[in-house]
Amino acid sequence: MLLKNLQHAFKEASTSQNAKDFLETYLPYENKEAQERFAIYKNNIMGSLSSVLADAFPACEKLVGEDFFRHKAYKFIEKNLPQKAALLHYGHNFVGYFEGVGRENNYGYWGEVAGFEWAQHACYYGADAQTLSLQDLATFDEEVFGSLIVMLAPAIQLLKTTYNIQDIIEVVKIAANDKEEGGIKEGFEINKTYDCYLFYPAESKSCVEKMSPVAFKALEALQKAPCSFEDLAAMFAEQEDEAVFASFITLLFDKKLLIRM
């Protein structure tokens, strides 16, 4: 028996409907008993991974109901086993998958609910970085300041949505607290509305704020590549009110969004 072959066969059997070959080749039990014993592992693996997804996407689970969510999660897991032992980042591609499930069921906003929850999750578990604070801002010489090169810290997440997603998530959570089944309360309206969100970590939680389109565009630029403050100022050149840029700079330092390159 080669350990490598056994482990490969175990993996295949645990994520497929047909484990017969594995059970006959490697286990000493008669067929029914082998199936039942092996099912404990199969259930543990699929159950624990679907729980990981449910923890990362709680509003999605409440939105569609636990049974439907688990059913779809199992389908996802069969094709997308984790590639790392630490599962904090497992599920990033569940957003696209859930969007597809929503489309199949004529609910265009499901993917955006998943995207919102993943942004919160990714922010909460995002990598630490030495960020610039308001105190740092006070120490910079005005001449040096313009040429400082900065980027968004790795934990910062940005998201554009086309539905009133934050309201939808609130309503779903309230329904869940009231122990109601999945879905959205009658009377609540799903609206088309274009919103830009910033997710940033605070001491013990991740926070979210709606942003203006111009500030969001600047944040996107800061996420894509390092920028100087002169570059940033140019992005606000068309704003008549200088206070808009000033409040953006304050936001960057107050919420500790930047790292120095």
Binding site: M1, L2, L3, K4, L6, Q7, H8, F10, K11, S14, Y26, L27, P28, Y29, E30, K32, E33, A34, E36, R37, F38, I40, Y41, N44, I45, S48, L49, V52, L81, P82, Q83, K84, A85, A86, L87, L88, H89, C123, Y124, Y125, G126, A127, D128, A129, A155, P201, A202, E203, S204, K205, S206
Partner: protein, 291 residues
């Protein structure tokens, strides 16, 4: 490094700390709990996710109990995983690190469970190699834990005590003996758990785990039924496991003992009371040995 509390446990009784109890643990700071154990993989991210662990470490020593090294896989431990683990160890200074005699990784896939191994010479050699790699990389001795399993394989030439004793001898690693796992295994694979304890080299045991399990009825040929025990960590330690624990510590002497509870959580107070019970048993056994 963020720590302000001493590194070594202040008493032998500890509990596994899970997200659900962070707040209660920080509010209550129970003085009779000597240490907390956490899964380091839950802290492989940054920022807010580390906030509570940092706060806990200000008041208690920590033990890291890994679930992700997959020491029994027929491949080497993931280098990136080891590096993140090493960085966390440097930051939080746990007094020990442990992982399992099991596997979860095959190629690039991680199955998120502690899976069973055939007890062959090939498995023994692979485990020794992976434990050596881990100890060399971390620059410290590690502990490895006996698993609970629901299947055995056709091939297998070693008993579990033989495998564990040999691992400790060949690699210098220490053992984490999960007494509930021994009980679960003895039921599922029909052996005497007390004979298992007798066969162990208890000098290598540096920690004991206790937990609850559940019964599951399975169907066999001709609609015959059998009850298996599943290591669910979702209830109180049962009396038979307490009895086996008492027998173990009577032979080994008092040893760091941890209560694990991972589902259907009780209150934090109830969890701590399980640890006090273990501490009482150790005290009684110690008194008897002195007398």
């Amino acid at each position: 490094m963020l720590t302000t509390h001493q590194k070594r446990p202040t008493s032998l009784g500890g509990v596994g700390l899970r997200y659900k109890h962070y707040q209660e643990a920080l509010e209550q700071l129970p003085p009779k709990i000597g240490w907390f154990e956490v899964h380091p993989e839950n802290f492989f991210g940054g920022g807010p996710s580390l906030y509570h662990l940092t706060k806990i470490r200000e008041h208690y020593p920590l033990s890291f109990h890994g679930v992700g090294l997959s020491l029994g896989s027929d491949q080497e431990p993931d280098g990136q995983h080891l590096q993140i683990l090493k960085d966390l160890i440097k930051r939080f200074e746990p007094f020990q690190f442990s992982d399992h005699v099991s596997w979860s990784a095959s190629g690039n896939a991680h199955l998120n469970d502690l899976l069973p191994l055939p007890y062959t010479q090939e498995t023994l050699d692979r485990l020794c190699r992976n434990i050596d790699i881990t100890q060399d990389f971390l620059g410290q001795e590690i502990l490895v834990e006996n698993p609970s399993t629901y299947i055995q394989f056709k091939e297998g030439v070693l008993t579990e005590p033989q495998l564990l004793n040999t691992l400790a001898k060949r690699t210098g690693c220490k053992l984490l003996l999960d007494v509930n796992n021994i009980f679960v295994q003895s039921h599922n694979h029909h052996f005497d758990p007390y004979a298992y304890i007798d066969a162990m080299n208890l000098d290598s045991v540096q920690e004991i785990h206790l937990a609850g399990h559940t019964e599951r009825v399975i169907e066999k040929r001709n609609q015959e039924k059998e009850t298996l025990l599943v290591d669910t960590h979702n209830r109180h330690v049962c009396q038979k496991v307490w009895d086996l624990y008492r027998y173990t510590v009577a032979k080994s002497g008092p040893v760091l003992t941890l209560i694990e509870w991972d589902q259907d959580f009780p209150t934090f107070q109830e969890l701590c009371e399980e640890s006090y019970k273990a501490q009482d048993i150790m005290g009684q056994v110690d008194q008897k040995n002195v007398a």
